[in-house]
């Protein structure tokens, strides 16, 4: 097991490097950058005094260096001449739009982003598992049909719209304040039981909205896997020996169907992180989503780049966890054979 864990973690390094190259290419793709745009604007207005300050920022972050050099500096494998030393040295860069270091702009938001994604995964597991088992064991019952319809709707409704509608009704029926992750009176207050309760209550709507399409997909997957297993002779054999239906399902087919279920959560993660971004914009949640959009619009490169990298990191780490869980469940994975799907 230890060998597998080490190998799996070692494999993450090249993946993360490749991701950092993609992210850097993405933020360099639009012509110009935040500072050059502002400098042209200032020069057009004849404000030469501020130009010197912007030029100082350009020098500090080596923005005029060649492309590859800029990448190396941003990554933190090469010290920049202006004093900026890059991500790996713990320096996430400077947000030109906010006039603050990137760490100050989104520091608080990172924790909430992770919390939201974690809550969503828990939601998907907690809801998809019982419903999937129910649907498979009572195939073609009214409940099964009901969940199937609900699942298709969950896949078809764009999650940002669902967010808007649910938020509207949550406000109308339960009096939850609109948007945000806590009631307005708790913002800036120290943590207390009431504040925690308010945060949890506000997490409900976004968690459902982000998790719904993933839950729908997982239910369908688990139902199909379990149905495959239920038709196999070993189930009939166990039934013939007089095992109670409940015990039988838990002991045999469910275990066989569990592997793909665990592995698929890793496959769902990218779409969940995506969903969290757009839903956060709609619901005005203090996660990295809304900041990413405004940073991309204004070409605030270090901020946008860091958030993109963070989102990718979330999915990569999530996949690592799901792979490790799978390895714990299925010895074939540990030894190096691929799990039979």
């Amino acid at each position: 097991m230890l060998r597998y864990v080490a190998l799996r973690i070692a494999l993450m390094v090249p993946a993360l490097l490749a991701i950092s190259v993609i992210v850097f290419a993405l933020i360099e793709l639009p012509p110009g950058d935040y500072l050059s745009n502002e400098m042209t604007e200032l020069a057009a207005r004849g404000e030469t005094a501020s130009l010197a300050r912007l030029q100082f920022l350009r020098d500090e972050f080596s923005l005029d260096a060649p492309l590859i050099e800029r990448y190396a500096i941003w990554l933190g494998v090469m010290p920049g001449s202006g004093g900026f030393n890059g991500l790996l040295q713990g320096n996430w860069g400077w947000s030109f739009e906010y006039g603050k270091p990137v760490a100050d702009v989104i520091g608080d938001r990172l924790g909430l982003t992770i919390a939201l994604n974690f809550a969503t995964i828990l939601f998907v597991y907690a809801v998809a598992f019982p419903i999937g088992v129910y649907s498979a064991t009572r195939q073609y019952s009214w409940g099964d049909y009901g969940f199937t319809v609900l699942g298709y709707l969950g896949l078809a409704v764009p999650n940002f719209l669902l967010g808007l509608i649910l938020l509207y009704y949550a406000n109308l029926w339960f009096g939850l304040s609109v948007g945000g992750l806590m009631a307005p009176e708790f913002i800036g207050q120290p943590w207390s039981m009431e504040k925690l309760g308010s945060v949890l209550a506000h997490l409900i709507v976004p968690t459902i909205v982000i998790g719904l399409s993933g839950t729908a997909a997982m239910i369908r997957r688990l139902r199909a896997n379990l149905l495959d297993e239920l038709g196999k002779p070993y189930v009939a054999a166990a039934r013939a020996r007089g095992l109670s239906e409940r015990r039988l399902i838990i002991k045999y087919p469910l275990r066989a169907a569990l592997g793909p279920f665990v592995a698929d959560v890793g496959n769902l993660l990218p779409s969940m992180v995506s969903g969290a971004v757009i839903v956060s914009v709609v619901l005005n949640l203090p996660t990295v989503g809304p900041v990413l959009i405004s940073a991309l619009r204004s070409q605030d490169q270090f901020l946008a780049g860091f958030i993109l990298l963070f989102a990718a990191l979330l999915t990569v780490v999530g996949m690592l966890i799901s792979d490790l869980l799978l390895a714990a469940l299925d010895p074939r994975v540990r030894i190096g054979q691929r799990a039979v799907r």
Binding site: I19, L29, P158, L161, Y168, S271, I278, V282, T315
Partner: protein
């Protein structure tokens, strides 16, 4: 099992003695007839006929095919004619007007299909426009009529509409937006953009997926390894942030048509890994089949092998999984435009229309601004059912 040759005209040929090649094309049915002692088998159906037979049994999928056909073959090509107003026609007397109801009876008498004229009043207490029906003034709905001028497909100037409001009357069946433009007409115009963007994006991802997946599966080894890693990498990245970053990189001063193709390219470029993986798996599996070995031994080129011997074996499956990836693209375009990073006005798509419904107050006061979500949900559902039906028909053993 090959059929014995008819007695040739030339010197008698003994098949055991020389290398004999039958001139007539090999007909397996005739061959098996001979083997089975001349018992005629029922005529075998072509694979596509079998496919069609299995598909038709899936009622929901057939219904979805009709829905999609309605959207793609009626609304997309004839949007200008079906819409009662032109795309940018503004009615300054009906700003944020609610949907108008159709009536049949006026003062207890049948009066054809008509609407009552709208009367706007400004409520000075709440600072709102309030619209009331003027029940004394029925305005007829005209059918096959001349209305707002438009350019059909941007080429021919026409004024013909399927139905339009009476002279001086209004016909806002789904209400109007903040500039007094008819929602129904704009949704119909938006259909064209929203639905074609999925198809063009699909074409891009289809070509990439088949070529890269085929290369990986057929050649294996290093090429396979590189493509597999690339697929894994792209699949592990969250889609939306990447779309956003790419969309933000499109220059703001591009004309709308360039932005349109830019967005399709972005959607297609990130969608191919799923398809490539399916193609690779099938090619890998088929490569080991005996009929492929036979074709290889008779000297078929790799290209012919893939095109003639492998592709027909999974083309139906491929079409099914391609169909299932269209809704993702339609939703992607909607999300991008909704956030203001995708298509922008003056282009009209469902996402652009939903952009107006971004804040809660809009939904509370003008709920009909959310109506463009109805066709989005309908089309995405239809694509899902249609694709599921195709997949079941293509692969009945799964």
């Amino acid at each position: 099992m090959a059929k014995k040759p008819p007695p040739p005209a030339g010197p008698p040929v003994d098949p055991t003695q020389t290398h004999f090649v039958d001139e007539a094309p090999y007909d397996p049915r005739r061959a098996s007839d001979e083997r089975d002692g001349g018992v005629a088998l029922p005529p075998a159906a072509k694979p596509w006929a079998l496919f069609w037979r299995r598909f038709r049994r899936h009622r929901l999928a057939v219904a979805s095919a009709w829905v999609l056909g309605f959207f793609y073959f009626l609304i997309v090509p004839f949007a200008e004619i079906i819409a009662p107003y032109a795309q940018e026609t503004r009615n300054p007397d009906a700003i944020h007007a609610p949907p108008q109801a159709l009536h049949l009876f006026h003062n207890g008498e049948y009066a054809g299909v008509f609407t009552y004229a709208l009367r706007a009043r400004i409520d000075l207490e709440n600072f709102e426009r309030v619209y009331e029906e003027d029940v004394t003034r029925p305005t007829r709905v005209r059918v096959f009529c001349l209305g707002d001028p438009y350019e059909f497909w941007g080429l021919i100037e026409m004024r013909f509409h399927l139905f339009c409001p009476d002279e001086g009357g209004t016909l806002h069946l789904l209400g109007t937006d903040g500039l007094g433009r008819d929602m129904l007409s704009r949704i119909i115009y938006g259909t064209r953009v929203s639905l074609t963007i999925g198809l063009i994006g699909l074409a891009i991802s289809f070509v990439l997926g088949v070529v890269l997946g085929g290369l990986a599966g057929y050649f294996g080894g290093l090429i396979d390894n590189v493509i597999e890693r690339l697929i894994e990498l792209i699949r592990s990245l969250p889609e939306l942030p990447l779309w956003l970053a790419l969309a933000a990189a499109l220059p703001a001063n591009w004309p709308p048509i360039f932005i349109y193709f830019g967005i399709t390219l972005i959607l297609g470029l990130l969608d191919w890994p799923g398809l490539a993986r399916a193609v690779r798996a099938r090619v890998l599996q088929l490569r080991e089949e005996e009929f492929v070995l036979a074709a290889t031994l008779t000297g078929a080129s790799p290209q012919r092998l893939v095109r003639k011997h492998m592709l027909p074996n999974f083309s139906s499956h491929l079409i099914a999984s391609a169909t299932l990836s269209v809704p993702g693209m339609i939703l992607g375009e909607t999300a991008l435009s909704f956030l203001g990073l995708g298509l922008r006005a003056p282009v009209v798509s469902w996402g652009v229309l939903l952009n107006d419904a971004q804040d809660l107050s809009a939904i509370e006061v003008y709920p009909w601004l959310l109506l463009p979500m109805v066709p989005v949900i309908l089309v995405v559902l239809a694509f899902n059912f249609f694709g599921d039906g195709l997949r079941d028909a293509a692969d009945p053993y799964r």
